[in-house]
């Protein structure tokens, strides 16, 4: 229990740090963010300076000449109450824009992550059993290539060859926009069809990392006494591979879960931009090219929250699967 509380505190603290970093980075930005916004409203909506200034102050809850610390406290309370600021391109609430994109990204990433994790685990344990053979070295090479290939490059090549040059798959959008969204077979198949290439880009570039990690973890477990004892007891090899080797070898992989998820979220900026897929990644990419700071800030915060929560989940799962961790003995090692 103490262990879970410790993880929870670190998780909350991580989110808090991210909020603080982005707040001060953007508020203390040279060239003053507020003046920039005032200028933006003057030029875009033809307001007078006073009018524009009042609008901006109202929009961002800024009281002129308020100490930065007070602004910071207000910002924190605003976040907790769901006031994440307004995007200054579309004038919509940041949270609203991001929550529209979140399900799409979550769908894309969770399916890709599950598939690549499963492929990686199976390949890894297979390679560990066949270590030293030609097949092992071939699969290791393939896994290294998968791990090394940047997902945005593979995504771009897939897009270029399989969606534009040979238009087998759609080149943009997360579903066919002529179809009414709903629980119809048509809509679901359209979603799957549109997500095929982006998922392929994620899976092909991330299964290798899992496979290599699983391979070395499984080789370590294969050298343990309890595996030898199980063999000596005459247990079936399949059962040893599943319950003795597989389960124990998978455990350490949970610790790299957050890093992997963070990495995939990073890749989503590319993949979703290239495939014009309506997720958070594309929103952040667009926000970045428009210099829409509230939206960038919010997007980063939402990604962090997602990664931190998933990580917490993985940690709890880890603790559940491996009782040694809960006692706090091997944590961090």
């Amino acid at each position: 229990m103490r262990w879970i509380i410790k993880r929870l505190i670190i998780a909350i603290f991580t989110i808090y740090i991210v909020i603080t970093i982005t707040f001060f980075l953007i508020r203390l930005m040279p060239g003053n963010f507020i003046d920039m916004m005032v200028y933006y409203y003057m030029t875009t909506y033809g307001m007078s300076e006073i009018e524009a200034r009042n609008t901006v102050y109202a929009l961002y809850n800024v009281v002129p000449n308020e100490p930065i610390f007070l602004q910071y406290i207000k910002y924190l309370f605003g976040l907790i109450n769901g006031n994440w600021g307004k995007s200054y391109i579309s004038n919509k609430s940041v949270l609203e824009i991001l929550l529209y994109g979140l399900p799409w990204t979550a769908f894309l990433l969770s399916v890709s992550l599950t598939i690549s994790f499963a492929i990686g685990i199976l390949l890894g344990i297979f390679m560990a059993y066949r270590r030293g053979t030609f097949l092992d070295s071939l699969l290791s090479t393939l896994s290294s290539i998968s791990r090394a290939t940047p997902n945005f490059i593979l995504g771009l090549l897939l897009l270029y060859f399989l969606a534009i040059y040979y238009p087998i798959f759609p080149a943009r959008d997360s579903y066919d926009i002529t179809i009414e969204p709903g629980l119809s077979i048509q809509f679901i198949s359209s979603v799957l069809y549109h997500s095929f290439l982006p998922m392929l880009a994620y899976i092909l570039t991330s299964f290798g990392g899992w496979a290599l990690a699983m391979r070395s973890s499984a080789i370590r477990v294969l050298g343990e006494d309890y595996v030898m004892a199980a063999e000596a007891r005459g247990l079936k090899p399949g059962r040893i591979a599943r319950t003795y080797v597989g389960r124990n070898a998978v455990l350490p992989l949970f610790t790299s879960f957050a890093i992997s998820l963070g990495y995939m979220f990073g890749g989503s900026v590319f993949i979703e931009t290239y495939f014009a897929y309506q997720g958070i990644g594309q929103i952040i990419g667009l926000a970045m090219s428009w210099r829409d700071y509230p939206l960038i800030q919010g997007g980063f915060l939402l990604i962090t929250i997602t990664v931190v929560l998933s990580n917490l989940l993985a940690d709890m799962l880890y603790g559940l699967l491996d009782p040694r961790i809960k006692r706090g003995g091997t944590y961090g090692g």
Partner: protein, 299 residues
């Protein structure tokens, strides 16, 4: 003096000769090493042999590969091979600079946490955990957005430094764990009894044992630095520098999408330049991992 030489010899054989022997047996690691050397040589010498001419020549646009243009020409009739060769220096510099800074921060922080222990260790471990969970690339985007607005010139070194901010924590955690396990070994006890200083123990006993791990992480930080650097540029999120591979992908993506077939080499050339470099670095890193982790060596 003789003692010093003997220690040096011991360190050399333990940490240089033997690892090199293991590396020599690993075909993939050797391939990676040679490719890396080739990349460095091409980036250093190539620009002297192949001049970069960026003046548009619209009559020669989207030419297929030929003797004059081995990789064809781009949308403005400029030689792709020349751009590729000239772009290497930027990418390699950013990658290695980021690798050095990352490894520097990670090692120092990790050793301090592991060796000092106590409250310092608890605090540093918490900081490491926080940095490990903050998604690196999105953080990079926020920092890049800030840099663009702040007027600080975005040079290769600023980029390398920013890239390291997001990636030192993984190494720090591993170095801490290694330091903890070495700290209680008998030979360290002997050193302590002999009255040797902390610095001596850190530099002569702990650091050499961490060397393969540091080298491996240097490669892997370079890999992620290349990913982020070329990726940010490919999306046009940081200012493009001519000939840079990421910039080439950015342009190719903008121009090749509208035409079909003709510009294929423009998109393929920088893509494979990056992929091959990444593969070489990962192969080399895996080879170094085998030096560090004898259990992986059973073949």
């Amino acid at each position: 003096m003789v003692d010093r030489l003997r220690t040096l010899e011991k360190i050399l054989s333990e940490h240089i000769y033997i690892p090199l022997k293991i590396l020599a047996k690993d075909k993939r690691a050797l391939f990676g090493l040679f490719m890396l050397i080739a990349y460095i040589l091409i980036s250093l010498i190539g620009p002297m042999i192949i001049p970069l001419d960026l003046t548009p020549n619209l009559e020669e646009k989207y030419l297929p590969p030929s003797w004059k243009h081995p990789l064809g020409t781009d949308f403005a009739g400029r030689d792709i091979l020349a751009q590729l060769v000239h772009g290497g220096r930027d990418v390699l510099t950013a990658a290695f600079a980021a690798g050095i800074v990352t490894v520097g921060i990670g090692t120092v922080v990790g050793i301090i946490a592991g060796y000092m222990g106590g409250k310092i260790d608890t605090i540093i471990t918490a900081v490491i955990d926080i940095f490990l969970t903050i998604p690196g690339f999105p953080l990079l985007i926020v920092i890049a957005a800030w840099l663009l607005q702040s007027g600080i010139p975005i040079t290769i070194l600023t980029i390398a430094f920013v890239l390291s901010i997001t990636s030192w924590a993984g190494l720090a955690r591993a170095v801490r764990a290694q330091t903890l396990s070495i700290k209680n070994e008998e030979f360290i006890e002997v050193d302590k009894c002999l009255g040797l200083s902390k610095l001596y123990i850190i530099f002569y006993e702990i650091l050499p044992n961490l060397m393969p791990y540091i080298a491996m992480n240097f490669m892997l930080s370079s890999v992620s630095a290349i990913y982020s650097y070329t990726g940010l540029m490919a999306l046009g999120l940081i200012p493009l520098t001519p000939g840079n591979w990421g910039a080439m992908i950015n342009m190719a993506q903008a121009y090749v999408g509208t035409i079909t077939g003709a510009g294929a080499t423009y998109i393929l050339a920088p893509s494979f330049a990056i992929i091959l470099l990444q593969i070489s670095l990962v192969f080399l890193a895996n080879g170094i991992d085998k030096i560090f982790n004898p259990r992986l060596r059973e073949w």
